[in-house]
Amino acid sequence: MFLNRVLPRNMLLSSRSIATKTITPAISAIFFKPEVQELLLNLTRIDLSKVFRRQKYGQVFEPPEYKFLTTEEVEKLQKESYERAVKKMQVPPIVPPRDDSKLEKLSYDPEILGHDVSKYVFTDITFGISDPKRIIVVREPDGLLREANTFERHRMNSVYFSRPECTLKHPEMFEEENLKSLCNRKEYVFILDRACTQFEPDDGLYHNILNTTFNHIHENNGFELLRSSRHFGSLVFFLCNNNMIDNLLLQNLHCNMMEDAVWLIKVYQFVNPEAKCAQMKHIEGQDVAFVQSYIDQDSPTKERLTQALESYSDVASVSM
């Protein structure tokens, strides 16, 4: 009964039911490579009208400004706004989840067993230290002095250094049932934005929420909803990491987005250097052959993809 209150049981999504790979440090390092970042940004397909759309989160809007500008000035402003959009589209970091079973034990003094019935949590509030680097330690009633786990860290950080967008208790929308109903209503961007502000990127709960959402998107082909949002990159990376890129590739082929298909397979090659098609190099102008090599060697659903590729090349040859 005591442990039920300590652990947020309802928050813990059953990660066993979703067969996904956990993020290892090696994969995280691949994500931070500049080439991969560039590919993910290209795949996002930035649409300025979608990036700077009005998001109704309760703020007061100001009326739009109208100006008379020359063509050069308009081009300059458009360039600036594109740069702002690129900054906004930065993919949230993908880092391995913090392992709570390997907390560092700083000292163990069994002589003070029973000094108090409750734990003591000590937080270092020294000025100018970031949340993940802050020293937070816990003295247990049995005399063990250890590092704080993820949940404790989150609570202490939000008690002493609160942010308006991050609540002390995790919102109810991240509980399993509510998350499912949100996914069924296709509110993917809302879930991912909220999770991004609420959790640290190395939180296990955050990883579970992303996994369930991305799985739902993959099963229901909702890729288009995430396009030109900052989460499309993490979606692509997730799919590549779990060898599930076929649905997205199929959609790309149906929509005649050959460039995107090539970029997608390039990311796949980066993430899976041991895959059979990883040796294949992309030569400009031979996109179809490049995609074909992936389909032949690594794809789990070959027939559908080959058909789609054939129909694409037929259409392309006719239009040529």
């Binding site: 005591f2 000292s107 029973g114 000094h115 108090d116 003591y120 000590f122 003295r139 404790e152 609570r155």
Partner: protein
């Protein structure tokens, strides 16, 4: 002076003028309200009153446990280290206990005493319970035997 003006000129977060010749101490200043204590860990001239204007606030201590059975302590380690390096600084027992539990100091002897007393109390409590149980069992046995004897004789 009205309360809001007093708070404005003498904030609880510190700012009192440091007098070099005077002794200073790191101690707890009680804030919060009736039946709900909350402490600031402050550096203050030793001869000043408990809630007088401190030189600097070094942290907080919330002695009532929260819903997760935790007592929260915050420490500004950088400033604590600075004040420990100065001369004429006295640290009170309560603060020494906290620093000991935090791993900043060796564990203070009062913590050992507290732990030992709590354990002794718990042991006596358990022994009492055991004795009571034994007594109850004996009584029950006697009760069971008594009617048997009665039936046997009848």
């Amino acid at each position: 002076m009205p309360r809001h003006l007093f708070k404005f000129f003498f904030p609880a977060s510190g700012g009192a003028k440091v007098m070099e010749s005077r002794n200073k101490s790191i101690r707890l200043a009680r804030y919060g309200c009736t039946n709900r204590p909350f402490y600031h860990i402050v550096v203050i001239h030793t001869r000043m009153g408990r809630n007088d204007h401190p030189i600097e606030q070094l942290g907080t201590f919330d002695p009532s446990a929260n819903e997760f059975h935790e007592k929260l302590v915050s420490l500004n380690i950088e400033r604590i280290r600075y004040w420990l390096g100065t001369q004429n600084i006295h640290i009170t027992n309560q603060v020494r206990e906290l620093f000991g539990l935090a791993g900043l100091f060796p564990i203070y002897h009062r913590t050992y005493m507290k732990a030992w007393r709590n354990r002794a109390r718990a042991e006596t409590h358990i022994e009492k319970q055991k004795e009571e149980k034994l007594k109850q069992e004996q009584e029950e046995k006697e009760k069971e035997e008594a009617p048997k004897e009665a039936t046997g004789s009848g």
